[in-house]
Structure formats: structure tokens, C-alpha cells
């Protein structure tokens, strides 16, 4: 206990961060951020392509930071961190796309024009 040097050791060594990982994470994140920014600020691509590219760059940076900063994927088996992460991704996917789907569907069905037509047909208004 009174030793000052060795801290987190042995089998956690596997998941131990390295300077190389942090530098790679930092450099790749800066490059990806600037690329996304320049794409949008200087209108380098058509709108649809730009949207796809920007989302792609964000997901790449997300993965890069997960690997290099949060050290996901370096843990020893069993990979509980990875499993909780994947479960989170599933929940997030359901939450975000489910909300968008439901709300756009609602929007589609509840446009005033259709409501008017419906009421005219159903209630003879």
C-alpha cells in the first residue's frame, strides 16, 4: 500500500491506454472534424452527398474515439463493456428511429387537408 509507483497493474494492463492511442485518436478526430467542417462551410459537395458524408465522418470519428480514447475493444474476455455498449446502440437506434418514424407517420396522417377530407367524408361536414 505504501508503494508509490506501481498502480493499476497485471491483467488490466491489457486495457491500459498508451500515448500512441491518444495521439492517433486526437489526430484522426481533428482531421475528421475539419473535413466535415470544410465540406459544409465551403459547399464542396451537393446537398444530399454532403449530408451522407458528414454523417459518415461523424460515425467514423465516433468509432475512432471509442477505440483510442475510451479503449473499447482492448478489454480481456468476457467483453462485458462491449456487450453493454452494443445493447446501448440497439436502444438508441430504436429510440431515435422509432421516434422519427412515429412522428413522421403522425404528421403524414394528421395534415389538415386529410383531416378536412376525413371529416367531410365521415361526418358530412
Amino acid at each position: 500500500m505504501s508503494q508509490s509507483k506501481p498502480l493499476i497493474v497485471s491483467h488490466h494492463q491489457a486495457g491500459r491506454p498508451t500515448l500512441k492511442a491518444y495521439v492517433s485518436g486526437y489526430v484522426s478526430s481533428i482531421v475528421l472534424t475539419l473535413a466535415a467542417y470544410l465540406l459544409v462551410a465551403h459547399h464542396l459537395l451537393s446537398r444530399q452527398t454532403a449530408i451522407a458524408a458528414v454523417v459518415g465522418l461523424a460515425l467514423t470519428q465516433f468509432l475512432a474515439q471509442l477505440l483510442f480514447f475510451l479503449h473499447l475493444g482492448t478489454e480481456a474476455k468476457p467483453r462485458w463493456k462491449l456487450m453493454v455498449f452494443l445493447f446501448m446502440v440497439m436502444i438508441v437506434f430504436i429510440l431515435v428511429f422509432g421516434s422519427l418514424w412515429i412522428m413522421s407517420n403522425l404528421n403524414y396522417r394528421m395534415t389538415p387537408q386529410q383531416v378536412n377530407t376525413y371529416m367531410r367524408n365521415q361526418d358530412g361536414l
Binding site: M1, S4, K5, L7, I8, V9, S10, H11, H12, R16, P17, T18, L19, Y22, G25, Y26, S29, I30, T33, A36, Y37, V40, A41, R47, A50, I51, V54, V55, L57, A58, Q61, F62, Q65, L66, F69, L70, W80, K81, V84, F85, F87, M88, I91, V92, L95, V96, G98, S99, L100, M103
Partner: protein
């Protein structure tokens, strides 16, 4: 000790280390649930982002160079935080304090920039009461800012601990947990930067 090879002798250090591993995992689970919180706010924003109620939209309000600066500041603070943790593993107390001070200053400037943006918006009459879009915007970005604020407080407490108690096992563990939190906030910011600001500028 006379038992078969399977029941290995567990030195106390390894046992403590196992507990550390558990708290890191527990904290990881918390971070993942926090992702779900942010996902619900992102979903709300995605649903409401066009409901401007006759008010300004994102492309009219946001300044991209300003947000890029914010992003780079936060990214750099995430990097220096990582360097701080590396120094902690190597037992270099002064370096830990130095890197975390840099991280703190960068985090504080990020927060100051965010608050400046908010106060400009509110000053121009574009507060959260203006439209559904702005309500969702302030909730999403404000929640991230609140996390940053809590992170700054946590960092200040940790630096005091390092200064007063040195780099014991418990302190290094806390620094590790904090670094996970800070990197996680940078991770969330990638999506705020992309979805709110970049896609907002593209008028999606």
C-alpha cells in the same frame, strides 16, 4: 494453497484491482445509460428541428467558425485529459496536475463559449420559449453543458485530492473514471456538432 491449480492464490493487490475493474465497469454502464438520455434528447431535436413557428432556423442562427472553435477546444481537452491519465499511471504527480489544469482551462473556455452563444440567442429574443426547435436545441445543448459543468467541478475536486494525497490507488482509479466521463462528453459533442450545427447549416 494445497488445493488444485484452479484455486489460485489471490494476492491482496490483485483483489483490490478486481474491485477497481468492477467500479470502472459500473461507471461504464452509467455512461451507456447517459447515452440513452442523450439519444432521447437527440430524437426530440430531430422531431422538432423544423418547427420554428415562424422564427429563425438553425442555419440563420448558428455561426459555424464559432462552433468549430468550440469543438476543437473540447477535443483538445479530451486529449490532454488522456495525457493526464497516462502520467497518473506513470506516477508523475506534477505532470498529472499540469495536464489536468490544461484540461480544466480548456473545458472552462468551452463552457464560456457555449454560455456566450446562449446569452446572444436569448438576448436576440431567440430563447427556448421562441419555438419548438429552440426548446429542443436548448435542452439538448444545455444538458451537454450541464454535464461539462459537473465535469469541471469533479476535475477541481480530483486535482485537490492529487495535490493533497498524491497518486494512491484510489486517486488513480478516480482519475480513470473521470477521463472516461470527459471522453464520453466529447463523444456526445461529435453528434451535437454534426446533427445540430453541420446538418443545420445544410438545412436538412
Amino acid at each position: 494453497m494445497t488445493k488444485p491449480a484452479k484455486a489460485k492464490a489471490v494476492p491482496p493487490a490483485a483483489e483490490a484491482e478486481d474491485t477497481d475493474g468492477k467500479s470502472i465497469f459500473g461507471f461504464w454502464v452509467y455512461l451507456m445509460t447517459d447515452c440513452v438520455l442523450f439519444a432521447s434528447l437527440f430524437a426530440t431535436y430531430a422531431v422538432l428541428h423544423n418547427n420554428t413557428f415562424g422564427g429563425p432556423s438553425g442555419s440563420q442562427l448558428f455561426s459555424l467558425p464559432f462552433v468549430l472553435t468550440e469543438t476543437l477546444i473540447l477535443l483538445t481537452s479530451s486529449f490532454t485529459c488522456g495525457l493526464g491519465v497516462l502520467s497518473a499511471y506513470n506516477g508523475q504527480k506534477n505532470k498529472v496536475v499540469a495536464w489536468f489544469s490544461v484540461t480544466f482551462l480548456l473545458g472552462a473556455s468551452f463552457l464560456a463559449m457555449e454560455l456566450t452563444e446562449f446569452s446572444h440567442l436569448v438576448h436576440d429574443g431567440n430563447s427556448w420559449t421562441r419555438s419548438g426547435f429552440l426548446s429542443a436545441f436548448f435542452t439538448l445543448v444545455g444538458t451537454h453543458g450541464l454535464h461539462i459543468t459537473i465535469g469541471l467541478l469533479w476535475m477541481a475536486v480530483l486535482m485537490l485530492q492529487v495535490l493533497r494525497k498524491g497518486l494512491g490507488r484510489a486517486t488513480v482509479k478516480r482519475l480513470t473514471l473521470f477521463s472516461l466521463f470527459w471522453h464520453f462528453l466529447d463523444l456526445i459533442w461529435i453528434f451535437i456538432f454534426t446533427i445540430v450545427y453541420l446538418l443545420g447549416a445544410l438545412k436538412i
